[in-house]
Symmetry: C2
Subunit: 242 residues, 2 copies
DNA sequence: AATTCCCTCCCCCAAAATAGCGGGAACCTT
DNA sequence: AAGGTTCCCGCTATTTTGGGGGAGGGAATT
């Protein structure tokens, strides 16, 4: 089987990233990556529900603070565009037409953010989402060539950054949500698909009374207040797939 | 900024993968990767809801057929274990204790699956999930060294395989789901959190009648049969985050 | 300047979901 | 062989949702 490859500056940084055991070190590594890639900025941006976010990178503190203060998370086309996307994307390809987006762009550039950008969305289980971005000030051709040549390494480092960020994040719902029984999974699945109780019971060829027992049971296991909540939790925890 | 790196056999294969425009070519590339890594098997396994799955790789057809026939998707500890996980994992670390899992393992090895395995889970938006696995027959030390030396390339190729599989998959939710208005998002979010209509109305400081309008509106936009369905869709489409 | 959303509020009634109680048989893991 | 789960069925009560309808003001986009 394949043996070790030759060491490069990039591999050295990646190795350091792999071995990182503390959150603050990610900041240092982002700076090393910026210097290695010779770009203006490197940013890892982790987004959770309820507007919770964590970021590290080389943006000016003033810009980061402004981003938070202005709740730009809800405006930033990079975040909005990447959230439902799975492939890396050039910022030029995103939708900057809305008034809010244009205002955001102006503000960003006023705070030292370059005109070119490239972001790698990373999705984890339970809907976890993060972005790894490189940012630079250059013309289109130069930028395009840079991305072509470094796309793979950017994807790779995005993956590692996310792995580390999740590793250090205590918020990583351990919750050990009790697994559901097969029938409970069936029930939750069909409910998530929009079936009424009567339809689910019919589909599973059981009485509606029995079905109710499953739903109740699942609800209690999931600590849910009602069926909708239970389905949401089951989806979020990956217990059901629709 | 950084320029092109030296070409290697791996880079050549990855380049071919990047440029693939047809689904059947993934099969060919998996064989090239197997030969490059000098392992027994390379498999990409895409799992969608309702038991839909797509796979390509170097496993024997007989084993693939048996996997489908026996509905091993619901048993396979590799699938079950990786679904809720974000990091690559060695098969030895998974939970093989259940009776069904042991039976599955025996069956797999009888069909030419090696004793060692390593899988990279890949999550996409909307809960999309896939696995990229390498499989081999060897002792622990050799395997461990192999994984250590090739982890990055495996992660990278997993990412590209998934990108291609999704690109070719017409099932890729055409994302025709119209965006929700801010109030509709609020409503869906609180409902997903288990609030009753009365509680949501109270939280948003609007009448319950008004709230209903939002729920109805969101339901229609999402093409959902009921609130539970609407919340499930909103979650799945990344329109709300809880 | 016009149009298209979005937000807010109100009515009615049928349908569905929730909460609590009870039972017994089959199947795993221990 | 025991103990735990899962699986199936029954009842009644109250509360919550669903599916129609209509109406006006305001903000943003075209």
């Amino acid at each position: 089987m394949k043996r070790r490859r030759a060491a490069t500056a990039f591999n050295t940084i990646l190795k350091a990233l792999e071995r990182t055991t503390e959150l603050p070190q990610l900041q240092l590594i982002s700076e090393q990556l910026r210097d290695y890639f010779e770009v203006d900025h490197i940013v890892y941006h982790w987004v959770s529900g309820s507007g919770t976010q964590y970021g590290c990178g080389t943006y000016d503190d003033a810009w980061v603070q402004r981003y938070v203060d202005q709740d730009y998370l809800r405006v930033d086309p990079v975040v909005l565009g990447c959230f439902q996307r799975f492939t890396a994307v050039d910022w030029k390809k995103l939708n900057w037409t809305s008034k809010a987006a244009r205002g955001f762009l102006e503000d960003a550039q006023a705070h030292g953010v370059g005109n070119q950008g490239f972001s790698v969305p990373v999705h984890g289980p339970n809907g976890q989402f993060a972005l790894f971005s490189v940012n630079h000030d250059s013309d289109d051709d130069t930028w395009f060539e840079f991305i072509e040549n470094n796309r793979r390494n950017l994807i790779l480092v995005a993956h590692y950054f996310n792995e580390k960020a999740l590793e250090f994040e205590p918020d990583r719902a351990p919750e050990a949500t009790a697994a559901l029984s097969p029938r409970e999974v069936d029930a939750m699945t069909f409910l998530a698909m929009g079936y009424s109780r009567a339809q689910v019971a019919d589909t599973l060829s059981i009485s509606e009374h029995t079905l109710r027992v499953y739903i109740e049971s699942a609800r209690h296991k999931l600590g849910a207040a009602n069926t909708t909540h239970a389905v949401a939790r089951a989806l979020q925890n990956g217990l059901i797939v629709i």
